[in-house]
Amino acid sequence: MSMSAGDSNTGLTNEPNVTPMIDVLLVLLIIFMMVIPMSRKAIDTQLPDPTPRPAPPGPPPDQIVLEVLPNNQFALNKTPVQKDALFNRLKETYNGRPEKIIFIKGDTTVAYSDVIFAMDQARGAGVTIIGVPPKG
């Protein structure tokens, strides 16, 4: 590295060998490039209002509630839906519907990942606001 065939062989090169330093700096650079732009992936959910106002009179609003039931069962406004049909059902429901709001109600016995699956499918089908109904 510090020897070159082309040069006159008489002189010793006097410059410091910078190659190892550059190696180290490049590695540092790569590591910081990987570490710094960290971002996290998340699904936003709207939590219930702790001081609910009394329900407005008149017919109930046509909100959509997706229930996550045990054994991979789902129910969209009380209508049972199979796991693999869920996405298409949600897509049909939200196509042409202006309010992209869903309430996802998980049964107390289901796994967290099943609820995340439901939220994932809902977002994929165009839902922008996911609400979590109050506990109980």
């Binding site: 590295m1 190696d23 590695v27 995340i116 977002r123």
Partner: protein, 153 residues
């Protein structure tokens, strides 16, 4: 380094490993420092999902509630008992403008553990719970605005 004053006749055929060792040592030191800092106290594997939004990470400002595989709560990586969580969350969110809290829960938990936590959060000033997930490998969000944000980061 490549020239030796003593035996001028022989050309060395071995590779010069010194730069490599330098690099390896630096890598070793960096990982020794970084790994415990990342995993300090709390470790949970979030569930995987496809259509997830990208949030910029701001360690100074973001409030993260962790729930590990045993159901223990961690507020910003520090363990906290369930009966102290409500007061701690209230203290944080009383004077904040942003009412968002990240919830990093382990993927194999029962949902009841997460809804319990969200119930505590809802009663103590949190309006939005962002459930932390991993992007399923090889997939891209189906929501267009997510894809734009993911590329912009």
């Amino acid at each position: 380094m490549g020239m030796s004053a003593g035996g001028g006749a022989a050309v060395k055929a071995e590779p010069n490993v010194t730069p490599m060792i330098d690099v390896m040592l630096v890598l070793l030191i960096i990982f020794m420092i970084v790994v415990p800092a990342i995993n300090a106290g709390f470790n949970a594997i979030p569930p995987e999902a496809q259509s997830v939004a990208t949030h910029p990470e701001d360690d100074q400002n973001d409030q993260v509630l962790g729930i590990d595989s045993d159901g223990n709560y961690y507020l910003n990586k520090r363990p906290i008992a369930q009966d102290q969580l409500a007061a701690a969350v209230k203290g944080i969110f009383e004077n904040r403008e942003e009412h968002i809290m990240y919830v990093k829960a382990h993927k194999d938990l029962k949902y009841v553990k997460v809804i319990d936590a969200m119930d505590i959060l809802a009663h103590n000033g949190v309006a939005v719970a962002a459930l932390i997930t991993e992007q399923k490998p090889g997939t891209e969000s189906l929501v267009e605005s997510d894809r734009v944000k993911a590329k912009a980061k």
